[in-house]
Structures are given as C-alpha cells and as structure tokens.
Amino acid sequence: MLQAKTAINSQNKSAKIGQIVRNLRFHYNLYKMSNTPSTLFDKVWDAHVVRSIKNGPDVFFIDRHFIHEVTSPVAFLGLETRGLTVLFPQKTFATADHNTPTINQHLPVKDPLSANQLKALETNSAKYGISHWGLGNPKNGIVHVVGPENGITLPGMTIVCGDSHTSTHGAFGAIAFGIGTSEVEMVLSSQCIMQPKPKKMRINVNGSLQKGVTPKDVVLYIISQLTAAGATGYFVEFAGEVFENMSMEGRMTVCNMSIEMGARGGMIAPDETTFKYINGREKAPKGEAWDKALTYWKTLKTDAGASFDKEYTYNAADIEPMITFGTNPGMGIGISKHIPLSEQGSGKASYEKSLNYMGFHEDDAMLGKKVDYVFVGSCTNGRIEDFRAFASIVKGRKKAEHVTAWIVPGSHIVEKQIKDEGILDILTEAGFQLRQPGCSACLAMNDDKIPAGKYAVSTSNRNFEGRQGPGARTMLASPLVAAAAAVTGVVTDPRELMA
C-alpha cells in the first residue's frame, strides 16, 4: 500500500517535472522566436524548408515556377522518361519570350529550331494543364515582366525559372533565382529543389538620388564597386532610403541585375509601395485572402540587430548616370568620367582584351563616343516607367539619323500602356518605331542582332562579348542615357537634355 502510494507520488512528481520542463521549453521557444532577430531572407527561406538533410542540401519548396521555350523541353522529356507527371501544374506558368520575333508576330516563326521550341512549350503546357501565354496571347511577354504585372509574383514567395534573371522577382520580397534544366524537372515533378542555403549580404544605399539618376544607375554603380563576381555565394538584401523611395519598376531593375555581381539573387522588403502595386492585379489575392496575406507580408522585414555575413553601405549622392565601357557589367563608370587606367597584375591582360574588343582606350572620355544602335527593352528596363523616361527626353526632338533604334516593350500590357499614355505618339513624332514584346536584342537569339563592330547603348543587363550579336559592342545604361544617345547620336549626359 505504502509502496503503491510512493510510486504514485513519484509518478506524479515526474509528470509534474515533465510538465514544467515542457512549459519552460515552450516559453523558451516563444522567447527565441520573438527575440532572435532574423533577416528577411532567413524568414522566407526557413519557411520553405520541407526537410533539412544532414551533411547535405535543404529540400526547398517552390511557390511559383516560370518556364519558357528554351530551357524547358528537355525537362518535360525527363518527366516522360520516368513516367512522372507535374505535381502542381497550377504553380507553374509558361510564356514564350527568348527566341520570339519582335515584328510580324502573327506570321509563323521562320527559324525552324525556334518554332520547334515554341511548339514544344505549347504542347507540354496543354498536356499537363499549365497556363501558357504563347505568342499573340494578350498576356505574353518577357517572363520576368509578365509575372509581376499579373500578380503572380507575391511577397514571401519562393520563385524559380530556368533563367538567371529570375532574381527580378526579389523586388517583391520574394526569394527568386535561376535554375538548371534538371532542377526544372525537379520542380515540375515535386515542386521542390535541393539547395544549400547561401550566405547573406546587405547592401545599403542612403540619401537621395540626384536628378537624372535612375535605378539602373544605382545598380550599375553597386556592381562597379563590388565587381562582377563580388557577391558570388551570397543572397543580397537591398536596403536604405534609396530603395524605400523607389517604385516597384525600379526595384525590379535593381534586383534583376543582382545576378551580374555574382549573387544568387537580390531582394527588397515589401512595403506600402509593394502592396499598392499588387492590389487588384489579376492573380493577386482578393478579399479575405488579401487581408490574411497582408498581415503576413507586413512581418517580412529584417529585424533590428539581425546579422549578415557581409554588409556594404553607399551614399546616393555619389552616384551619377552610369555607362559601361567594357565587357562585363562590373566595368561601369559615371558618364562624365574617363575610362580608368588598367591596374598592374593578373587582371591587366583581360582588361586590355576587353577594351580592345570595345575599340576603346584607357583614359578615353565616354561622352561624345559615337553610337550606332540604341536598344530599349529587356527584363531589366522594359517596363512602362522605362518608356516614360525615354519619352521624356525624346519628346520634341528627333532621332539622330545614323542611329538604328529598337524600342521593345517587355510585354503586351506594357505595349498597351505605351499606346494608352500617348507615349507612342511622342515616339513616332521623334522618328522611332515600337516593336512587339520579347527578349529581342538582349541576347540576340532572334533576328534582332547588333552587327559586328557596331556600338550599341543598351538598357539590357549583359555586355559580354557577342551577347547582342557576334562582334557587337554593348554599352549598358539607363533609358535616360539611351534616349540622350538616340537623339544626339553620341554618348551624352541626359541631364543636359532634361528640363
């Protein structure tokens, strides 16, 4: 009896202790959750880890998957070989953009290889029930333009696409990055990829931008400071007043080019500007779902005291309109500057090779250099704001006679805005023509190629050798700089032409 009683007592006792320990642990976890400062990146990443593999990668859940005609056919074939299907077709969206023509889109595509890839995208999408915005569809356009403008891209999401400029979508506070063909197959079949978590970097730009300085200049400036490989292995958060005051279009331009400094991607905390942009877009949540989402989105910011593996801070006042003079996006300078002298050391030979390709010399002034082609478009600068900026300078002026200009909206929706806002009239009056949406001269997979040896001021993102056509010489710049070049025929400081 006594023994039994003691046993019960001790049972009670250990149960009580167990309870206390559990309570303590619960409160400790609560405390930890609310008191360990974490970054925006951590919050979104950690919320998508299905399983963490010891001595291996994370199984990482993908909310949105974009596909296009070039990198998806082999992935679909892989599915078929394995007898797999698409797990969540409603989470994948297809658009044709990379090798589509930018004139006469109503006619059959001439290049058989391109036509083949476009057909494959259409067939695969239909077969698996994926929404497909092919050529001629009113929602068609560059994948990184149509995602956001249709409300598919939302804060806190994980977004991938077989294209390195998927980083664009980070502007909404999403984790977005490019993947390889095998990974496209993984996402189609399981909505996950296997990824080790990257390191974290924060780049702050404080103060306010000077007249004529655009988001493109901000990002070209950052890359020129960090170099084209300076953020390799990192995921970047852009923070500070300059980004807080930036439009969504501008934030997309910045995040788009985070890959050009080697980063896996870049992101910006969502705020009122973000919510306002999203609200009412076709696929954006509505009603109660909107309220619920909004409550969550408002928690998506880096807590005070959260730590980064690396941090840089720049001053907005130091940035002027930028232009590149070499063959990687890190080789950029303020437009009024001279091309820097090469430094002694291992990089000297490749620096010289690069200038040689461009036909430039050390200490040349950039202002006044002859321009043959102007390209306005791409997923970097193919949104309405970019055409407004371009029009603000060409208005009342004429295109320089020797300049060939390709003005290419990022999507049909942008094209429509250009017409509705009267921008088309301004362009036409100044002697410019508007082409149809697509990647166009950004990568010259279609007919829009800059001829060998010619100079192009381009609003796209890569100035690699041959990127815009074999032998093409690309100078990356903002739509304002592109406009100034288009009307004067030479590299010109846009501030001189601004009211």
Partner: protein
C-alpha cells in the same frame, strides 16, 4: 533519368593525362541545340575524336582499341567552363561511370553526381601512379569502392581514400538522384504544400 546503383566498380580505365579539359571540349556547343537528352555519347570529345570529315582521329585515346573500361582517368581541373549538364550526359552515355582526377570543377562535379557518374578526386601523386600502372599494362584494373570511399590499383595494391558528402553517397549507392529523392518524400511535400499560403 534514374541510373544503376554504384557500390564497387572494378574496371580497366581510359587514361587522358590532359589538364583543364573544359566542358566545351567534352561536348561542343553546337550539339546543345537538341530538345532531347539522347545520343550525346556519340559527340563526346567530338572535335578531339573526329576529323572534319567524321573519320576518327587515330591518335586520340578513345579511338585506341587497347584502352577501354568504365573509368576515365583525367588530368587536373577536369570539367571547367560552362555549366552545361550535357557534358556529364555525354560521359555517361558513352559508358563511363567514374571519372578520376586530381581536381574537378565544382559544377561539373555536382552535375555528375546528380546523373550517376562518380567523380573521384585523388592526390596528384596517386593520379600519377594510376597513369603509370595503365601505361605499364593497359589491362590494369582499378577498384572504386564507394561504401568504403577507396580507390585501389589492383596490380600493386596501392590505395587511397576519397571524399563525398553523405547525402550524395547514399544517393549513388542506391542509384537515386535528387528527383528520386524528392519523389520518395512526395507525401511530406504535399502535406507541406497544403499549409502553404500560395
């Protein structure tokens, strides 16, 4: 593309004592236009292997009948250059299951592991010993033991161990790739998806 399990591979080897073999050499860019993942083995080392008129180049090792086997032994920094997965596809499709070198480019290593080729990184000294052994006898066999993480020159008994992460080792020994792994946890993924806001 699931592949055969890899546990212990005993085979003769093809020696290619060239350094910095880049993926453009492994499979030239013009063969990437296919929308299928077939027949890349025919174009493995295409420009080293064939003349312009498609006749085999006699002095290239793959055209020398005295060498054969499932192991390719290559010089330092194998697989550098572009990230094309096609390079690994070509090596696998040709019939190799293992590449031995003293250094691999990162992306090539990952791509290989994902499609069932084991990259075995050995010391430069051991690499030389392998080349010497094959030179002495083209029929010399190597034993690559994945569970034990060792590579042995059977003729001399010389042995070295190599590194591989646990997850990838597990995948290789079971003949899984990432897609198989993900398929095996589909229920867990679906439960996860059900809670998702998006």
């Amino acid at each position: 593309m699931a592949y055969d399990k890899f546990t212990v591979l005993t085979s003769t080897a093809v020696p290619m004592p060239i350094e910095n073999v880049d993926t453009d050499q492994i499979i030239p860019a013009r063969f990437l236009k296919a929308t299928e993942r077939k027949g890349f083995g025919d174009n493995l080392f295409r420009d080293w292997r064939y003349n312009n008129d498609d006749t085999p180049k006699k002095d290239f090792v793959l055209n020398n009948p005295i060498y054969s086997g499932k192991i390719l032994v290559a010089g330092r920094n194998f697989g550098s250059g572009s990230s094309r997965e096609h390079a690994a596809w070509a090596i696998y499709d040709y019939g190799f299951r293992c590449v031995v070198s003293s250094f691999f480019a990162d992306i090539f290593k990952n791509n290989s592991l994902n499609i069932g080729i084991l990259p075995v990184q050995v010391s430069p000294e051991f690499l030389n010993k392998i080349f010497t052994a094959i030179e002495a006898d083209p029929k010399a066999e190597l034993e690559v033991n994945l569970p034990a993480q060792t590579i042995t020159i059977l003729a001399t008994g010389e042995k070295e161990s190599f590194d591989i992460n646990d997850y990838k080792k597990d995948n290789m020994t079971h003949g899984y790739d990432d897609i198989d792994y993900l398929q095996s946890m589909k229920e867990e993924i679906s439960r996860f998806a059900a809670k998702s806001l998006y």
